[in-house]
Amino acid sequence: MRTLNLVLVSFVLIIGIKAQTADEVLKKMDATVYAPKDQQMKIKMIIYDKTGKETVREAFSIQKGFDKRLFRFTAPPSQAGIGVLSLPNEVMYLYMPAYEKERRIASSAKNQNFAGTDLSYDDMESKLYQNKYDAVSLKSEGNDFILELKPKPDNKTNYGKLIITLGKDNFYPKNVKYYDKNNVQIKELNNLKIEKINNYWTSTIIEMKTLKTNTKTRLEFTEVKFDNGFSDDEFTVRKLIQK
């Protein structure tokens, strides 16, 4: 009996240490990804359909912390001027020049693809992973950690789990596999060019694949600048409608 108790206590301790470690890695990943106080960048979005045909969109984005972002298309003409403002508490506004007014977006739209890309509004959201997901397991493979995340109960995402591969050296994600609620992988994200800019690790080329449709979107970031000193005033409806 005493042996059994010892085994049980050891088991609980191991599980506890492992969960804590996964949680710590998640926090370190968040700390790396969201380290800059703010950032701005130009984005080239290359969307490939299943035949490999390309469509190119261009955008400009500024971000502060992990819950304020202003994103605006600059090309092609049919999209130019369309802007999305993401704010805390799942508040999102869409500005379409043709509509001539900002419009609040229902959060149910967040699971849909953003402007024909393979990224959803949810993927675009700059919210800490630890606020949306629980770390449930951690594995070590060579120089990488393999982290498994499951959505928190209040996270109304389409995803059932995320498997993230991140470097042990910098805690920056290299690859993210997205699974649906039936545990079938539906998307895969690869950070193809991870580099250090102004002491911050960042990925300047991202590729997101949708496995079911065999489509992918490649994001290339240029003119990336960190710690610009953006005030909260830059992330307002006022700025969204000034184009």
Binding site: P77, N89, R104, A106, A115, V237, K243
Partner: protein
């Protein structure tokens, strides 16, 4: 004039201090053709080229102009400068933005049907382009604090709406009816002959209308208003006040002229000449929008309060003159009085009413987008008893990475009188398919089918069901 010149020069001096960014020209070309389903006639044939100039000056100012160059039913229309405005940000004080010029001031949060959007006159040329307004020459101030936004404007001159065009021209016309006959009586003790009361049967020969605009003084022509908006517990809310002219004219004087009169049969032929003018209303509005459990929710209401009593006066023929002519007499006062309908009161300040809309939208996980709205009171409906109910539904879904959008269910149900619903309803069905062959091109085909009974507005065009194709090429 001197003030205008000084203001204009000041703006140019202000703008010249900024480093100018690259010019930005854009636009689109959009043809649209509609063919009647019942008899294959052309109902609409428009080719529109919009040119947009949008020049930003270091995010401190912006000039924007939209110009339409069009053909409509094979007629080449005069190019139209729809919008021409300058935005100046942080004008004099921080977070005060002003906009001067021809502009659209859009209030309200609902989706296309906005009861509080009453500033710019309606552009109803194409009745199926819901929510289209003309642009107005205005000066607008927006001041932002951390919690509250103040939005105020002044429009100096009066501008009437653009009424429906072509086959749809009668959609919004108001029926002005007359009684079949007028009773003519003689005042007691009248000289020189005694006549019993008689009836004049009226047959309308011709009807003329003229719409009078307000006199050209700013006191008579201006519109102004203020909107205050904020966010309270994740709900965007606003309240507004607007004093402006209504979009549709109402009759204020009808003169009936007797063209001929047969004293034996009592049969007459008349002409009517009706003068119309625009009533002015106080508008008190409120709206909200939020997202709850993933569902988008919005609501918008506007109280319409006439600023004074508006009457419709009838001027009937002078039967003493008629009788004098019949007897070849100089004008003689026979004491004849036409017992016609008294002046009717169309609006009075105590008889106000509220139009409102509530709506929800939701995007299901499979990508199906659903939008449901309930509207009480259409744009041309006045007073509580005349406001109809409109239930609107749209379901659409995008396919193939947004290359195809199908809206199999789109339309609405309109109910005029619930107790006689079988004779007071309209059903509209507007399915459509949009295809995006490339990123700058959208091609849409669809149809409009309307069925109904009664005096509900859309029943006036139920014989104009159509199939349409339209495209938009952005550049």
């Amino acid at each position: 004039m001197k003030k205008t010149v000084i203001l204009t020069l000041s703006i140019f001096i202000y703008l010249s201090t900024f480093e100018q960014e690259q010019d930005m020209f854009s636009g689109y070309f959009s043809p649209e053709y509609r063919i009647g389903l019942k008899n294959s006639e052309w109902l609409w044939n428009e080719n529109r080229l919009q040119l947009t100039i949008n020049k930003n000056f270091e995010n401190k100012a912006r000039i924007k102009s939209d110009i339409w160059i069009r053909t409509l039913d094979n007629k080449i229309l005069v190019p139209e400068i729809r919008e021409a405005k300058i935005d100046i940000y942080d004008f004099i004080i921080n977070k005060l933005d002003i906009t001067i010029g021809r502009q659209r001031i859009k209030w309200g949060t609902a989706d296309k049907l906005n009861p509080t959007d009453n500033i710019n006159p309606y552009d109803l040329e194409d009745i199926w382009d819901f929510g289209r307004h003309l642009y107005s020459d205005a000066i607008r101030f927006k001041y932002y604090t951390n919690k509250i936004t103040f939005d105020a404007f002044l429009i100096g001159n009066f501008q009437g709406p653009r009424l429906p065009y072509g086959k749809y021209a009668n959609l919004l016309t108001q029926d002005i009816s007359f009684p079949d006959s007028i009773k003519v009586s003689q005042k007691t003790g009248s000289y020189p002959i005694i006549l019993p009361p008689f009836y004049v049967k009226m047959n309308v020969n011709s009807t003329l209308f003229t719409i009078e605009e307000p006199s050209n003084f700013i006191k008579k022509t201006f519109s102004s208003g203020i909107r205050i908006s904020s966010q309270i517990k994740n709900v965007d809310v606003s309240v507004s006040y607007l004093y402006s002219y209504d979009h549709f004219p109402i009759p204020y004087e009808t003169t009936i002229t007797l063209d001929s009169f047969n004293i034996t049969t009592g049969k007459s032929y008349i002409s009517t000449f009706t003068k119309l003018h625009y009533p002015r209303f106080h508008h008190i509005g409120a709206d909200f929008t939020t997202s709850f459990n993933g569902i988008g929710l919005w609501g918008e209401a506007c109280a319409f309060i006439p600023d004074k009593e508006y009457k419709h006066k009838h001027i009937t023929p002078d039967f003493n003159q008629v009788l004098s002519s019949l007897f070849n007499l100089p004008y003689t006062d026979f004491g004849l009085v036409a017992d016609f309908q008294p002046d009717s009161v169309i609006f009075k300040p105590t008889d106000w009413w509220v139009r409102f809309i509530i709506g929800v939208d939701y995007t299901f996980k499979n990508g199906i987008y659903t939008n449901i709205q309930y509207l009480h009171g259409f744009i041309n409906e006045y007073k509580w008893n005349n406001l109809n109910d409109y239930y609107l539904l749209r379901i659409d879904r995008k396919f193939f990475n947004d290359k195809l959008k199908i809206a199999p269910i789109s339309g609405g149900l309109m109910i005029g009188d619930y107790s006689k619903i079988q004779n007071n309803y309209a059903v509209m069905y507007f399915p459509e398919i949009s295809y995006y062959p490339n990123i700058n091109t959208e091609i849409t085909i669809g149809c409009k089918i309307i069925e109904g009974k009664g005096k509900i507005i859309f029943n006036k065009v139920k014989d104009l069901d159509d199939i349409y194709i339209k495209a938009k090429f952005s550049f």
